[in-house]
Structures are given as structure tokens and as C-alpha cells.
């Protein structure tokens, strides 16, 4: 549960989609911050038990913020700056190899 402070330094908006839903972020946000700011509590469910997880460390060491970005799975959202038009998908369980 996070909110933006008022009176931040001005920045362009960046519009991304998350599971097809439009999410507005700030230019300079990383994807994890954008998800949390948009009120998205969880970005994936675990391969082992299906438990819901969300960004935990925000610095690239916990690997809990894994999402699919531009069709590439298990990308660390906290290390990826948002880009206008970016396509993000939350991940459910283990990754599956693409079947042609």
C-alpha cells in the first residue's frame, strides 16, 4: 500500500500495460515501483506453493519481483525502468517452455 508524495519534481507520465490493464507511471519509475504505486499488491505466485509474492527488497537481491516484460519471463521488475508502451504480465507459478 503506497501513495505518491505531493509536490514531486515534475516528470512525464509513462503508460504501461499490466495483464492488459493500462497503468500510468512516472518516467524514471522502475516497474516494481509502478506496480506498487498502482495498488497492485502482488506480481506473481510462486512455483512451489502458488503463494502470492510482491517486491520485497527493491534492490535486485530477493528475486520476488519477477514479472514477464515484453514476453521475456522472470525479469526483475525493480531493476527495469518503465518505458512508454511497455507490456508487463504477472507470473503464475513456474515458467513453461514455449511450445512451437
Amino acid at each position: 500500500m503506497f501513495r505518491r508524495l505531493p509536490d514531486l519534481v515534475a516528470a512525464d507520465a509513462a503508460t504501461i500495460t499490466v495483464d492488459g490493464r493500462t497503468v500510468t507511471a512516472r518516467a524514471g519509475d522502475n516497474v516494481a515501483a509502478a506496480l506498487l504505486a498502482a495498488g497492485l499488491d502482488s506480481c506473481r505466485t510462486t512455483p512451489v506453493s502458488g503463494a502470492a509474492r510482491a517486491p520485497y527488497c527493491m534492490m535486485g537481491v530477493c528475486f520476488d519481483c519477477l514479472v514477464t516484460i515484453e514476453a521475456q519471463g522472470s525479469r526483475q521488475a525493480c531493476l527495469t525502468p518503465v518505458r512508454d508502451g511497455m507490456v508487463v504480465e504477472t507470473q503464475q507459478g513456474a515458467r513453461k517452455a514455449a511450445v512451437p
Binding site: M1, R3, L5, N30, A37, C57, M58, V61, D64
Partner: protein, 490 residues
């Protein structure tokens, strides 16, 4: 077929926090061909995260210490050092070939001297329920503030111990956030043990700032001291925090966000995978690399600087970075002028002043064993969801160390590569076997230490260096097997 050329540098620095930026600046100013690789999109490491381009306006929320980071960034970019953002280093060989990913492409470079400045990460805090939605590290909250101007809304509880917890509380208060409570887990007994070092601490630069911080925070917040037990409760999502004070009964409060912190530990994966020997530090309760006064390791031309060499804070990290830069210059023979020699004297004096204050902080904020060594269903390995009970059970079956345990439980084999479970597993096995963590050892860490796709590996030019980075060389393997302390009996 000729081997494609790999760019060679005099000095390669990994990590653009205070130590890395200082090392790169010193090396570059002395005329060394220097490259600074960092995985974040902008410089500053974690302590100065987002200092260039933070949406938080200058003023009340982030203090002067933070903004000082901008000066260090300016210093670094004003030199001829090549700074590469978004570069994720996944391999360092003993003969100083670095493999990294940049823009989805794997690349390699070689350096005559490498300085690892990968800094620190938060100590794991494996309380019951720490994997629930709504539970994060205090550092995560700081990063969200610095990089996104985001603060927790709803009912917010901070828990743990250490200077960064108080710093975060102060920053959140300054940002107008209601912090419902700080659950302070600093063990009472620590105050007595820290007293011995109090005199030195009072005379160190930490004292005044620390005191000011505590006064600012404790006056305006509900602080609950001597917390001896903690749990995050909820069904998938945090709804309450439970705690005990001393031997007292369990108390609860509703919460939407729980921010945990009990100190930081060296981020050791790259150094360890490169073959740098690590030893157990009983004072700081973590593994730290074996380094000399300038950060040099037993591996020729490979040094570790900053918190990655042992936790000592941002100011000391910067000073050690400068020393490591100077050592690189001395090793390679760059231009050392009179100015640098005078600087070195000054740096060593400053270093001594700051170092005098550390033993007090280490003693006071030494985390209690129950928060490092969990029980029962508490999750130890977040990635593979392995519990403390499962780890203890396998010790009962005869497993003697973390590497053997991987085969039984997959504990430590998830994407974080043991970063968040390593210390817990070592201490848990030590506790279960009645041995010291030093005897138990740590996970055997190997490259790639950061994710790299098969596509990227396949697209590397097929050179000896590339093959060496992808498949750990037999020479490195032989060295790591004979090193007694790196992984205990296994």
C-alpha cells in the same frame, strides 16, 4: 579463426555506490583506462539510490548526507572513467575477465585490476509470515521513497534494529507519513556490551548525527523497546503484527505494511564466485572476504572495497574505495602526484575517525539469535519455500552443511542464489549441529551470479574467455575445492 578482440581496461570497477564511484574516480584521475559497471539505471548504489533524478525535491525529507552523494557522482562523471549503467555483471574469472549483460546482450571485457564494490544487502529477517504481501525491507521503503517519491499509506509498522531503521523512521516522519509503531528488537543486553565502546563512539562523527536522529524520532513516534519475538499474521496478505516485549504476553496490532530491518551484510555472490575466500566474522555475524588494508585479496589484481568487504557505512566505503583506487594505480603504475599523496594521508585520518565509532554500533545492534535462527514453519528459503523445521530435519538425517542440503531440499537453489537464505541456513545448521558457523561454511557460489538467458550465452563470440565464463574453469574449481574455509566439510 582468430579470436574476436575483448576490450582491455587498466581498471574495472563493479558497483557504482560510494566505494565504486570513489575507486573509479581515483583510478581515472591517475590516468588509468577505467570502466565502472553498475546494474542500476543510475549511479549511487543503495545509500545514494536515485540521487541523480530523484523525484523528491530538496528540502525536509532526505538529509544532507544523501545529497552529498550527488557530489560524488559529479566527481566520478567528471573523470574519463567509462560509466556503464544497466550492466549486470554475472561472472568474474580469477584472471580478471568480466562477463556482463547489457541491453539483453552478453559481453565480456578484461582488466588488469578489478575492484568489486557490490556493497551490502539487508540481513535476512525470517520471522513467521515474512513472505506475506505487505511485508518488505526498510531498505525497500527507502528506495521507493528515493526513486519514486512513494511512501506507505495505511497502517505502517517498522520493526528490527540498527541505524537504518531510525533513519527510515525519520525520513517517513519528515514526509508526513503516520508510522504506527517502531518495534525495536535491539537486545537489552547489547547496551551493556556496547558501553565499552561508548567513549570512542562519542568522539566519532557518528555520535552527533545518531543522537539527533534518535531525538527526532523517539519524540514523535510510539517506540516499543526490548521486542523479543515478532510475527507477521494474515491470510496471504499482512493484516496484523504480533510481538512480545521481554518475557511478556503476545500483543497484536493491525497493520497494512511491515518494514523489517536488522542491519546489512556484504553482498558476497560475485566475489565468492570469483574465488575470493570468505571467512566468518563473529562480530558482524556474516561472511566477509579476506582482504588486506587496501582491499586486496589473494587473487592477483582483484580487490574488494566498500561494505562488500565488511560493513562500515557509506563514509568508510567511499574512503576505502579511494584507497582501492590508489592501490590499483600503484599496482599498474599510473601517475601518482603529490596531491594524491597528501589526499591519502587525509583519507587515512578520516578513515580512522569513522572506524573508531563502528565497534559501538556493531555491539549495540547485534541482532538477537531468535531473529537469525528461526523455528518451525518459518520460511528460511523464500524462493523454494523451505522451512526451518525442514532444515533441522535434514540435519537430523545426517546432512552436515549447506551444499549437501541443497540436494535434499533445493534450499538455496532458487533464483536469488542463496542471497536471502545463506546466512540463515549456515546459522541454523550450526545451531542444530552445535558447531560454529565457520565450521559449517557457506553455499558454494558459481557464475552466473545474475540471470542470463541461453540466447545471450549462445550469442557470445566463441572465444576461450567466453567458454571460461560460462563453464567455470577447472583451474578455478580445483582452487575452490582445496580452500578449507569456503564450504566447510563439503
Amino acid at each position: 579463426m582468430t579470436e574476436p578482440a575483448i576490450t582491455e581496461y587498466d581498471a574495472a570497477v563493479v558497483g557504482a555506490g560510494p566505494a565504486g564511484m570513489a575507486a573509479a574516480a581515483v583510478a581515472a584521475r591517475a590516468g588509468l583506462k577505467t570502466i565502472l559497471l553498475d546494474e542500476q539505471p543510475s549511479p549511487g548504489g543503495q545509500i545514494y539510490r536515485g540521487v541523480i533524478g530523484t523525484p523528491v525535491p530538496r528540502g525536509r525529507i532526505l538529509d544532507a548526507d544523501y545529497w552529498r552523494g550527488a557530489k560524488l557522482v559529479q566527481e566520478m562523471v567528471s573523470t574519463k572513467a567509462t560509466y556503464v549503467a544497466g550492466a549486470s555483471v554475472w561472472s568474474l574469472s580469477a584472471d580478471r575477465e568480466i562477463a556482463f549483460s547489457l541491453g539483453g546482450q552478453a559481453r565480456m571485457l578484461r582488466a588488469r585490476h578489478v575492484i568489486l564494490a557490490t556493497g551490502a544487502m539487508e540481513r535476512p529477517f525470517p520471522i513467521p509470515g515474512w513472505t506475506l504481501l505487505g511485508v518488505m525491507t526498510a531498505g525497500a521503503a527507502q528506495i521507493l521513497l528515493k526513486t519514486g517519491g512513494l511512501v506507505p499509506s495505511g497502517r505502517t509498522v517498522l520493526a528490527g534494529c540498527g541505524p537504518l531503521l531510525w533513519l527510515l523512521a525519520s525520513q517517513l516522519l519528515s514526509a508526513g507519513v503516520t508510522v504506527d509503531a517502531v518495534l525495536d528488537t535491539t537486545p537489552r543486553a547489547n547496551r551493556r556490551r556496547a558501553l565499552r565502546h561508548a567513549f570512542a563512539f562519542f568522539h566519532s562523527p557518528y555520535f552527533r548525527k545518531g543522537l539527533g536522529l534518535l531525538i527526532h524520532v523517539r519524540r514523535r513516534l510510539r517506540v516499543i523497546s526490548d521486542v523479543t519475538s515478532l510475527a507477521a499474521l494474515g491470510d496471504g496478505r499482512l493484516s496484523e503484527v504480533a510481538w512480545r516485549v521481554g518475557d511478556g504476553p503476545e500483543q497484536r496490532m493491525a497493520a497494512d505494511t511491515l518494514l523489517l530491518h536488522q542491519g546489512v551484510i556484504p553482498n558476497m555472490n560475485l566475489a565468492a564466485a570469483a574465488g575470493v575466500e570468505h571467512v566468518w566474522d563473529e562480530a558482524q555475524l556474516c561472511w566477509r572476504p579476506v582482504v588486506d588494508g587496501d582491499g586486496g585479496t589473494a587473487l592477483a589484481g582483484i580487490a574488494v572495497a566498500g561494505d562488500g568487504a565488511g560493513i562500515a557505512g557509506a563514509e568508510i566505503a567511499e574512503l576505502r574505495g579511494r584507497m582501492a583506487g590508489l592501490a590499483a594505480v600503484a599496482a599498474i603504475g599510473g601517475a601518482r602526484d603529490g596531491g594524491m599523496l597528501r589526499d591519502e594521508v587525509d583519507w587515512r585520518q578520516q578513515l580512522a575517525k569513522y572506524q573508531a565509532g563502528r565497534p559501538f554500533l556493531d555491539a549495540l545492534y547485534r541482532p538477537a539469535p531468535q531473529f537469525r535462527i528461526p523455528e518451525g514453519d518459518s520460511i528460511v528459503c523464500r524462493c523454494e519455500e523451505v522451512t526451518a523445521a525442514q532444515v533441522r530435519e535434514t540435519v537430523g538425517l545426517g546432512v552436515t552443511g549447506p551444499n549437501q542440503m541443497k540436494a535434499f531440499l533445493r534450499c538455496g537453489m532458487g533464483p536469488c542464489q542463496g542471497r536471502l537464505c545463506g546466512l540463515t541456513v549456515t546459522e541454523l545448521i550450526a545451531d542444530a549441529r552445535g558447531r560454529s558457523p565457520a565450521e559449517i561454511g557457506h553455499y558454494r557460489l558459481r557464475p552466473p551470479v545474475k540471470p542470463v538467458t541461453v540466447d545471450e550465452l549462445a550469442s557470445l563470440p566463441k572465444s576461450e574467455a567466453a567458454r571460461g565464463a560460462v563453464v567455470q574453469r577447472s583451474r578455478d574449481l580445483a582452487t575452490s575445492r582445496t580452500r578449507a574455509t569456503s564450504s566447510g566439510p563439503l
